[in-house]
């Protein structure tokens, strides 16, 4: 059987998810036998033509990215969003809350119009996506499981329960009891609760669970002395795009 051709692409991102892919080879070198990688600019000079699976890292943040994304969508049978920037827009969307002209001026001064840009979006806002691997960065074990599932013709299983479930299974002391705050109750698990395990609260990089109880979480944050500004900052580190969508929908869940 011919090995499926796999390609990696990157848009606005730190390329940390592709580095995590490289790291996953430390524990699963057999993956290289099972697929044929035809494009991985960060690691390879060889380039192949067609591909069945495209892993896309990064957010779409300039008009020129759209045509490239659409071409990838046309060529690939499966498009997989790799990591928080592609899946959610991620930290790149923080700037969407500011006037674009101000952001450009702040960084590039009077040369701002030399450089092409517009508000950042998850790739699903531009092309249909078949599967997503959440996280900033992706979890390497979840990546290996996802590739194996795709090779077997199945969709990767991404958990729908909150981070709290995995955190309890790890027998962590709740970070709220240690004087910090955490988005765990409303954020998708699958990371093995790595941030609470290392003493920090969940920052939301894997995205919201279905039907998150945001009002309740905000109440808990207020009880732990977070101001409305601090609560908004917490929700918008990775989830600005989603927060702004909720605001636009007028459900009042995240007023400024």
């Amino acid at each position: 059987m011919a090995r499926p051709k796999v390609a990696f692409f990157e848009f606005t991102s730190c390329e940390g998810c592709q580095l995590t892919v490289v790291d996953s080879l430390q524990t699963a070198p057999e993956l290289l036998e099972a697929v044929e990688i035809v494009r991985f600019r960060e690691a390879m000079s060889e380039k192949g033509e067609g591909y069945a699976v495209a892993f896309v890292e990064g957010a779409c943040s300039r008009p020129g990215d759209e045509a490239a994304l659409k071409e990838i969508r046309e060529k690939a049978q499966l498009v997989v969003a790799l990591g928080a920037c592609a899946h959610l827009g991620g930290i790149n969307t923080i700037r969407n809350r500011h006037e674009l002209a101000d952001v450009r001026q702040a960084v590039y001064g009077d040369k701002a119009d030399w450089y092409d840009t517009y508000p950042a979006r998850p790739i699903e806002a531009v092309v249909p996506v078949d599967a997503f691997l959440p996280g900033c960065p992706i979890d390497r074990h979840e990546f290996i499981r996802a590739v194996k599932a795709l090779l077997q013709g199945r969709a990767p299983q991404i958990p729908d329960q909150p981070v709290c479930v995995e955190c309890k299974l790890k027998e962590n002391v709740c970070v709220y009891l240690r004087g910090r705050t955490c988005l765990g109750p409303i954020i998708r698990a699958g990371c093995d609760a790595i941030c609470p395990t290392y003493g920090d609260g969940c920052e939301g990089c894997r995205g919201l669970i279905p039907s998150p109880n945001l009002d309740s979480l905000k109440q808990v944050l207020a009880e732990h002395h977070l101001s409305p500004d601090e609560t908004l900052a917490k929700l918008t580190l990775f989830l600005t795009y989603q927060t702004m969508a909720m605001e636009a929908a007028g459900d009042g869940t995240a007023k400024r």
């Binding site: 606005t12 430390q26 000079s45 290392y198």
Partner: protein, 430 residues
């Protein structure tokens, strides 16, 4: 004889981090254009920092780069800590140094083995290398895993660190974590020796061009965190005076800003550190430099990779020393040191794998009011182009593919981190 005309246009250089193009245009023997274009999309990190809580800055800025995430986070923390008058414990300083060695090893191994070695061994990437030289690839992956596990024991993961926080840590390695690491670091000496042997066989182009070298310097150690700025042209500056060195400018063909000091360009990174701080290297690293034929005052940019191999030796030995020191004194739970104030300005400076990195924050009432980050690759861009302008005229009798390979290898030698460098600054300090 007709003067040669050559046009080279390498779209998206491979085996580098981020998106860059090489454009060379020679008409009738005259070099008309020789640019390293940076086409990475703008990131606007500094603009995004404005208005965010200071406690978030290191988590946001680590996302500038997947490879030097610990370096960005640590530099960010130093900027915040200086701005807010946070005084670190000795234990925090030791753990941060050890964490840094993990990242330095990880990044240098990735670059030397997976990005540079394929050129030396005549293949296109690490994938065919796994077939032709499986023991080399297995060794690289084994060393890289150890470096990653070292970071994970201290800060949770290398990309992106979790437990690093303003004033200290939110998690500490146990004594048994450190003992296991100690044993694995010691066992890795054989792999490091084999690495030095492998790179002794590496044949690099002979090309020298004198330039200015800039690195952080301390009198008592091979400096990676804090210190003062030193130049091979002489002089030393407090890190707060970094603007006197960097003098940033924009050019149209690059979303990354450029820097210049006394000359038109300067170099940062492993070779600059080696040239300035070689006396402070561990004795085994000095011996490795001798074995590799690397001498202080080296002006061949292709030998940056060799300087990285020397640093691999140093970082492994110093990591063993730091682990011993931590085991001897014992790691105890410490709450992170508290800020003395909620407003102020601070500059953090660290030597990250590709050279000196600066973060400069103004914090007002606990929120970042303005930020400026100056990235090693941005500082190297003018130097790379100056190398290309000197190199190309010496290659005009070669075939275009050979010229292209030489230029790609040159750019790759700098280990450019383009997603890092693209996000620039200029920030008005109000």
């Amino acid at each position: 004889m007709a003067q040669p005309s050559v046009r080279i246009d390498v779209h998206h250089i491979t085996r580098v981090e981020g998106h860059g193009n090489i454009v060379v245009d020679v008409q009738n023997g005259v070099l008309k254009q020789c640019d390293l274009e940076i086409v990475e999309s703008p990131r606007f990190i500094e603009a995004m920092l404005r208005g965010r809580p200071f406690s978030e800055a290191s988590h946001l800025t680590s996302r500038i780069c997947g490879i030097c995430a610990v370096g960005h986070a640590t530099t960010s923390l130093r900027a915040t800590e200086k701005a807010l008058g946070v005084v670190l414990s000795e234990q925090t300083v030791l753990l941060r140094k050890l964490n840094f060695h993990g990242e330095m090893l990880d990044s240098h191994i990735l670059h030397a083995y997976m990005l540079v070695a394929p050129d030396a061994l005549g293949v296109g990437s690490v994938v065919p290398l796994a077939k032709s030289h499986p023991e080399v690839v297995r060794r690289a992956l084994r060393m890289k895993k150890l470096a990653g596990d070292l970071c994970a024991a201290i800060c949770g993961r290398h990309t992106h660190p979790i437990a690093l926080t303003v004033g200290g840590f939110t998690h500490y390695p146990s004594a048994s974590d450190l003992e296991q690491l100690r044993a694995r670091l010691e066992a890795a000496r054989a792999d490091v020796d084999a690495t030095v042997e492998l790179f002794q066989m590496l044949r690099l182009p002979a090309f020298d061009r004198e330039t200015e070298y800039i690195a952080l310097h301390k009198d008592d150690e091979y400096c990676f965190i804090d210190g003062e700025i030193a130049s091979s042209d002489g002089g030393a500056w407090a890190v707060e005076d970094y603007r006197k060195i960097t003098n940033e400018t924009l050019v149209r063909h690059s979303t990354a800003k450029r820097t210049r000091h006394k000359r038109g360009e300067y170099m940062v990174g492993a070779l600059a550190r080696f040239n300035i701080n070689h006396e402070k290297l561990h004795m085994k690293a000095k011996a490795a430099a001798t074995a590799l034929g690397l001498k202080p005052g080296c002006t061949n940019p292709y030998r940056i990779t060799v300087a990285q191999v020397v640093e691999i030796v140093h970082c492994l030995e110093d990591a063993i020393r730091l682990t011993d020191q931590l085991l001897e004194r014992g790691v105890v739970w410490e709450e992170p040191a508290k800020p003395a104030r909620l407003s102020g300005e601070g500059v953090g400076a660290c030597e990250v794998p590709r050279g000196v990195l600066f973060h400069n924050y103004v914090i007002e009432d606990g929120k970042v009011a303005s930020a400026n980050c100056i990235i090693p690759t941005g500082q190297n861009l003018n130097n790379i182009e100056a190398d290309m302008r000197t190199l190309v005229p010496t290659l005009l009798d070669r075939r275009p593919e050979e010229i292209t390979l030489s230029l790609e290898m040159l750019v790759r030698a700098y280990d450019p981190c383009i997603s890092c460098s693209t996000h620039m600054l200029d920030v008005r300090f109000v």
